[in-house]
């Protein structure tokens, strides 16, 4: 069975789920859900670029040094640096207007942090869905892996594909709010593909790579092909699909 809780946080809705082959007691699960929610609220408090007083906003305005910010900020920026390097600069928080903006990685990273809390509950599996950034642990039930859908960018009510999930999955699309879908090389809001999905072990990196892939298209797909443990699935504007050889595709739904 499963238990799911929705949390209204970070300007969106995050769902937290526990899965177990056997009974799940909400009274026993509640502390884990509460702690995961607390983690998400803390991420919002620290990283929101929409809250003028958040440490990241103050960092961006030069009112706070990195050393004065909560240690999570340096941790996230280190991960951003890794994502920038591995994406060939197609994900670049330092190229955003108004100062360093890790937003394109934070939602996935936050999903991973919340997942770590849920994993401690000791159930067969757990899943965090931060408005499309998925982070999973374990399985739905013994010998039943997580299966998740990728939304069809041309038809919001239907799925474009179903994927077997072991770790994280992030998808980026042409029209996403926020400055992170900005071409770091041209400073223009644009996309090369209609939808870009990336799976891999780290939810923060998967989020950043999906953003990079959406903006950079083919150039980033080639890089992800060479990168171990990260796989990608792209839906082009003409509806055609591309994927890296190891992408765990279960089925494809035509647009």
């Amino acid at each position: 069975m499963s238990l799911t809780v929705s949390v209204d946080v970070m300007g969106t809705v995050v769902t937290l789920s526990l899965f177990h082959d056997g009974d799940l007691d909400m009274d026993r699960a509640r502390p884990y859900f509460d702690e995961a929610e607390h983690v998400l609220r803390e991420v919002d408090r620290v990283f929101s670029t929409y809250r003028p007083e958040s440490p990241v906003s103050r960092l961006r305005r030069g009112e706070m040094a990195l050393g004065e910010a909560p240690p999570e900020v340096a941790e996230v920026l280190d991960l951003c640096r890794e994502a920038r390097e591995k994406s060939g600069g197609w994900f670049d928080p330092w190229a955003m207007p108004g100062g360093v903006d890790p937003t394109g990685l934070v939602k996935g990273w936050a999903a991973g942090r919340a997942l770590n809390v849920l994993a401690a509950a000791g159930t067969d599996g757990a899943l965090v869905n931060a408005a499309g950034d998925l982070a999973s642990y374990g399985v739905v039930a013994p010998s039943q892996a997580f299966r998740v859908g990728i939304a069809d960018p041309f038809s919001p009510d239907t799925l474009a594909a179903v994927v077997e999930l072991d770790g994280a999955l992030a998808t980026s699309g042409t029209y996403e709010r926020g400055s992170h879908l900005l071409n770091p090389h041209t400073q223009v809001r644009e996309s090369a593909v209609a939808s870009a999905s990336v799976t891999g072990p780290d939810p923060g990196l998967a989020d950043a790579f999906a953003t990079a892939l959406c903006v950079g298209g083919e150039a980033v797909l080639e890089r992800l092909e060479r990168l171990a443990r990260y796989e990608a699935y792209v839906i082009n504007f003409d509806g055609s699909r591309q994927m890296t050889p190891g992408f765990a595709l279960v089925e494809v739904t035509a647009s």
Binding site: T4, G11, R147, F154, P156, S172
Partner: protein, 181 residues
């Protein structure tokens, strides 16, 4: 499996409840073209500068707030007669349309009939603080998630979709101008 169903539904209902509370704040998700502005952008040479004042002033009128506003979409695209595919790299900008938080237009760059790039040409949310605190994608994503989770043996949905009907509308206008579809 059967045992799990009620809990999945419970999650879905909770998600939808969150949705509804978002929805009740601004008028509605309905969209419509901004008559004056889109007429301007339909003229042939809408390449570089979109007057910044036009979106702001048009945005204050509640043009897209009525349920029938979507019918306005037909006029800008049908007035464009060009349907012959062009060769070489070319681009076109779709009409300015209202979306949830303001006004936007979409630019498409194509090589022949292959779309190379889609760009947000203009976006103006009028400084609406709501648009900064609500992830525009989350509402429709949750809707599709709610439906998909009930219809397929899956545990979640990832994906950004052209859920801003305004975005889709402007995109379609640009594609029509390019003779692509």
């Amino acid at each position: 499996m059967i045992k799990r169903t009620p809990f999945v539904l419970a999650g879905t209902i909770a998600g939808l409840a969150g949705l509804l509370s978002f929805r009740s704040t601004p008028a509605s998700m309905t969209l419509g073209t901004v008559a004056a502005a889109s007429a301007a952008s339909n003229t042939a040479s809408n390449t570089a500068s979109t007057p910044a004042s036009a979106p702001a002033s048009s945005g204050s009128t509640p043009a897209g707030s009525g349920p029938s506003a979507n019918t306005g979409a037909a006029s800008p695209t049908t007035t464009v007669a060009q349907t012959t595919p062009v060769t070489g790299v070319h681009s076109a900008t779709g009409p300015l349309v209202n979306y949830y938080f303001g006004i936007l237009s979409v630019k498409v760059t194509a090589s022949g009939t292959k779309v190379e790039k889609v760009t947000i040409k203009t976006i103006n949310d009028g400084g609406n603080p709501l648009s900064q605190s609500i992830d525009q994608m989350s509402i429709p994503q949750l809707e599709s998630q709610a439906m998909a989770v009930q219809n397929a043996n899956i545990q979640g949905v990832s994906g950004a979709s052209y859920t801003s009907a305004g975005f889709k509308m402007s995109l379609q206008g640009a594609l029509t101008k390019l003779g692509i579809k």
